[in-house]
Symmetry: C2
Subunit: 338 residues, 2 copies
């Protein structure tokens, strides 16, 4: 049987209210009594009951705000599915969650959304921060004021947040390159396509790919590296251009919208091996029909879920999360998903 405030009160010969104040350090209280209560509480291994707290919280109407950086993206749709499922779980604890969509990579808009969330009475923020001065400044100010912020799937140069949740992007780049080497074998000539470097994580993933391939011990050659835009047509053109321009390209490592790459993959005579990032329905199909060899995923749904749970724990239980929560990258083959 877990010990309760009542137990401690009885053990100390004081009232339950006094125990409460002693442990919280709130309100006026005799220092000696407080000291004794704290000692007894520790001895009895007191841990506040989060369920009871939840019931009380119900009347307080906490709100968690979720701010994105982009729209109409398979990966982030999955992240949001995780957010929604967590939001649903914590509804009974009296905590609401509101999602604020944001135009693609629009830093000003993102800052405005943060302010909007605060105006709506948010008491915590999960954000996919755009690496731009306006956002950096706004988030830093928020964090310094003690407001709980978590970074979700992305991060800023400085960890101005309670907790940063993402995959190890650099490593994920290395995993992709290493896998491609296994698949395509020595001597293969690689085209790498990576998403906007405006997101710091994408920058790191690109570096992981580059460092691996450019290592003298690596028997592959990097023909070119392209930065994508999240615009389907533009990206499709970019890629087609590259494979036309460099007929020696025979393998592909690709992180972006599947639709943009489909044309290139249809010509099976040139691209012999391909590793893709993430696992949208389209990429699933590419895997299944053999257009690509493997996909590398990073549990987007779980990341979204975790972000909400971390804030929930912090708000209700004052549990301070680790500064960084890293999610593993997973390799999927055709056999993994059919």
């Amino acid at each position: 049987m877990a010990t309760t405030l009542k137990d401690i009160a009885a053990a100390c010969g004081v009232s339950i209210g006094t125990v409460e104040r002693a442990l919280k350090g709130k309100g006026r209280i005799n220092p000696e009594v407080a000291e004794k209560v704290r000692k007894v509480a520790k001895e009895m291994h007191y841990r506040p009951n989060i369920v009871a707290k939840g019931l009380v919280n119900r009347s307080r109407k906490y709100k968690i705000a979720v701010v994105l950086h982009i729209q109409g993206n398979d990966f982030y749709d999955t992240v949001m599915a995780g957010v929604r499922s967590a939001a649903n779980e914590i509804l009974d604890y009296g905590i609401e969650t509101q999602i604020y969509p944001c135009p693609d990579f629009d830093a000003e808009a993102q800052v405005a959304l943060i302010d909007q969330a605060l105006a709506d009475g948010a008491s915590a923020l999960a954000i996919v921060p755009i690496d731009a001065p306006a956002v950096i400044a706004r988030v830093a100010r928020l964090h310094e004021s003690g407001f709980p912020v978590v970074f979700l799937t992305a991060f800023l140069p400085e960890p101005t947040c309670l907790c940063s949740i993402h995959c190890d992007y650099y490593r994920s780049g290395r995993i992709g390159a290493s896998l491609l080497q296994y698949l395509a074998g020595p001597g293969s000539r690689v085209l790498a396509c990576m998403p906007s470097y405006r997101m710091l994580g994408n920058h790191l993933r690109k570096d992981g790919v580059l460092d691996f391939i450019r290592n003298p011990a690596c028997p592959m050659e990097l023909v070119n590296l392209v930065e994508l835009t999240n615009n389907t047509e533009k990206d499709a053109e970019l890629i087609s251009q590259q494979v036309r321009l460099h007929p020696e390209i025979d393998s592909l490592i690709y992180c972006g919208n599947a639709k943009s790459a489909q044309l290139v993959l249809q010509d099976r005579t040139q691209i012999k091996h391909a590793v893709f990032y993430d696992l949208s329905p389209e990429i699933r199909d590419l895997l299944l029909n053999g257009s690509i060899d493997a996909a590398i995923t990073q549990s987007p749904e779980e990341q979204g879920h975790r972000a909400i749970m971390v804030l929930f724990q912090y708000i209700t239980g004052h549990t301070v999360p680790p500064e960084v929560v890293l999610f593993d990258s997973h390799i999927k083959l055709k056999e993994s998903i059919d």
Copy 2:
């Protein structure tokens, strides 16, 4: 604001107790009133607050029993870590979890443990069922009596349970074989080592490996298949024997205790490529020092966690889980973990 019993009571002009009985269908109640209450409740989208329920449950002292089938196994130690973490999370809901260790593959002992758990007042059971008549009969009886049972990482020929939690073993076998083909290339000669077929899942995984390699389109040759025992020394001997007996063996697909395979791997001249299952600390080391190429994992910790959560949800919220919860298999390379 979510609707509560009180809201419904007010809307129907009855007392909160009547609403409770109407929705639960318990105790004597006027059928017409019950009907009306249920209708209003549905209209107001009533969903019982699980947090409030949790508080009440505290005094009821529910118990979840976890029964294993084996001892001193890295994989199951990790599963149990997940079980413990979930157990800890639901403590505040007034639900205790007790773990019952079991001698290796001893069906009689496992049945005795089930009975022991019931005697201890368990109200739900998570079990790694041994595929033996005694266990099958006992579990079936339990399930038919309405007692909540979940199968954890293993299952029986018949799904005599509330929910079965495990990975897709057959698929996991195919993934391993497919990966080995990528790594070792055509013409490689494979030794496959799989754990005791007494567990149905292991049987299926073995079939997955076999079906993949024996497919005429597969350019690998299966030299031999060995069934391991979970006894470190015996298994080490078995494997050494095989590689001595068949000097043409050059690659290995292996699911078992890492220690038993270490000797064979030290001789790098014979085994050129190896795919292992699971990711114990020893297997981590093998990956890092290049003794093996890849490991295939199945989120053991998450599986253990989920088993407890499924039972928790069922006990407290009467949430009926899906019959099967499948976990994905993940491929890890050296780059995934260093």
